[in-house]
Symmetry: C2
Subunit: 329 residues, 2 copies
């Protein structure tokens, strides 16, 4: 299973786009489930060997509106086998999709150095914008970013629930030979619509603002997303984060953006944010890529963002607590 | 037991100072335990009838350094019997000590109207400074405030643990006939030292700043007091509250005050703050008298205090959640 040289099924008629998805959390699994329905050249790279084995043995299970689909054509590999061993017999990858958490991107990019020349294009799907600060160091000619608006929940190593249909919106940072556009255009995935946007910065900014408004507060206050709208004090707290984030990012059309933030809260009102889930599992959050990114931008632009700094300290402090807990146990 | 006219034992030799303590939480019980060792004219007024009955039947139990003292001479009454019934046969009260939570002071003062003329002096022992905003409405000629630096824990209706020896520091707001000074001067309570201070405002300010720094953050972050020193992010959060509080209160000798805050945190490092306990029991906190007071002062003085306002929203929001929980249950 870790012999990556044999991962792609030989050509049968029309040439298949070769996808590699790095990261097998809920988003990596969801994306693999849908893309594999249109290609038989997809490899899902997992962090843990055991998950790769499980998916290989049982198949990847997608649950959506009470229907279970056992998805064919998903090959697996552990990330380490794929990225670190610098396999000489690996075929060229058309589209590599990075679906790991933002704080794992740095390591992935380092590991990727060895096979970069075999990768035609790369698409990043992180929360926040911390990963965009590393783009200068990538030598792959085609780079894109995307935001996933779906609800997904991974229930075990081989099963993912599609809990809410949204869109995958993506945009080029540098278009290269437009391999991604060519790959995505013919796809017909009714329950997983893919939409190309013109400009990557506003695309990421809007998601960043939502993440900045919703994630840290829901984690700190231990509430579902909808509570930020229903509780007038929490709404006030959120609106102050929003104001500072818009100032830092020099957001135009602020009223429209505030509507968008409220709308996302409303539509996901009974959801726990990813950062709240991280808190519940006492694990590292994506705070560095969300509020941390905003604070670095604020420092560059000499903008004062006291509330964001305060909230950032609260989340970083909790992470320190979690780490201390680990040492003790 | 609710016949308050008979609560004071008849004179036997020297005249006894007649104390009434309103509020039978940990502080009210602790104070009663020690004062009753020097007088047999002490009445403890409880919120609940059942607690008054329990203390009457079992005696008030004080636990200190593994020694249990069953305190004699503590009479009880429910607050409602004492304050609301406007008893005509009640004797004059020398010192009335208000040991209820800050948000209960308003109600006590309203109920007190009926017997105010029988009260020679009144001493307030609240956290924060919200209660000081009601002083203009009191017609009792002698008014004082105090801060309790002891550790105390009420384990049941008739038992209080003295978990840490500190001091009761108090000061006159208006000195009247100095009944309190005359009452306290001869007391010899080694484990409950009572210290008179010259100026009431700095006395309350120093306690207010400690409460503002420690209570809301420990509640929100759900940590013991010591964590605010040990976790560098939390320490940073606390120092920002401190800075704003000092600005609002126009505190001189800020360095010395910061030392005091850190010292209190250190000495109570393994304690849960009263606000954290309120959170754990999902009950109303003293936020209005602590950060709320600071915000009202800030508004009067046109001072910007964004961090205090933010933290205030977080605690108020939690209180709303608790109240909603009550309705549901």
């Amino acid at each position: 299973m870790e012999e990556c040289g044999t991962i792609f099924i030989k050509k049968q008629g029309a040439r298949q786009v070769k996808y590699v998805i790095i990261g097998s959390g809920s988003i990596g699994m969801l994306l693999s489930s849908y893309l594999a329905q249109q290609t038989n050249s997809l490899l899902l790279a997992t962090h843990r060997n055991i998950q790769a084995n499980q998916i290989e043995q049982k198949g990847l299970h997608l649950v959506h509106t009470d229907k279970i689909t056992k998805v064919q054509h998903v090959r697996t590999s552990s990330c380490s086998a794929l990225l670190k061993n610098n396999l000489t017999d690996i075929e060229t990858i058309d589209v590599m999709i990075i679906a790991v958490k933002s704080h794992q991107v740095k390591q992935v990019l380092e590991d990727l150095k060895g096979i970069e020349h075999k990768v035609a294009s790369i698409l990043f799907l992180q929360n926040g914008m911390g990963h965009t600060e590393m783009f200068h160091d990538i030598s792959i000619p085609e780079v894109a970013v995307g935001v996933v608006e779906h609800g997904a929940m991974r229930t075990n190593d081989w099963t993912v629930y599609h809990t809410g249909v949204g869109r995958l919106r993506w945009s080029y940072v540098q278009a290269g030979k437009k391999v991604i556009e060519t790959a995505f255009s013919p796809l017909r995935l009714n329950e997983f619509p893919i939409l190309q946007e013109k400009n990557w910065i506003p695309l990421l900014h809007s998601k960043l603002i939502v993440n900045a408004c919703v994630n840290p507060l829901t984690a700190l206050l231990m509430v579902k997303n909808g509570q930020l709208l229903e509780n007038k004090y929490y709404l006030n707290m959120m609106s102050q984060v929003f104001d500072e984030a818009c100032t830092v990012l020099e957001t135009s059309e602020k009223d429209q953006m505030w509507e968008y933030v409220r709308d996302v809260c409303q539509k996901t009102s009974s959801n726990s944010s990813s950062m709240l889930l991280d808190f519940e599992k006492k694990r590292k959050t994506e705070i560095d890529s969300i509020l941390g990114y905003l604070l670095r931008q604020a420092a560059n632009k000499k903008i004062h963002a006291p509330i964001i700094a305060y909230l950032h300290d609260a989340i970083k402090g909790k992470e320190v607590e979690f780490r201390e807990g680990e040492v003790e146990s």
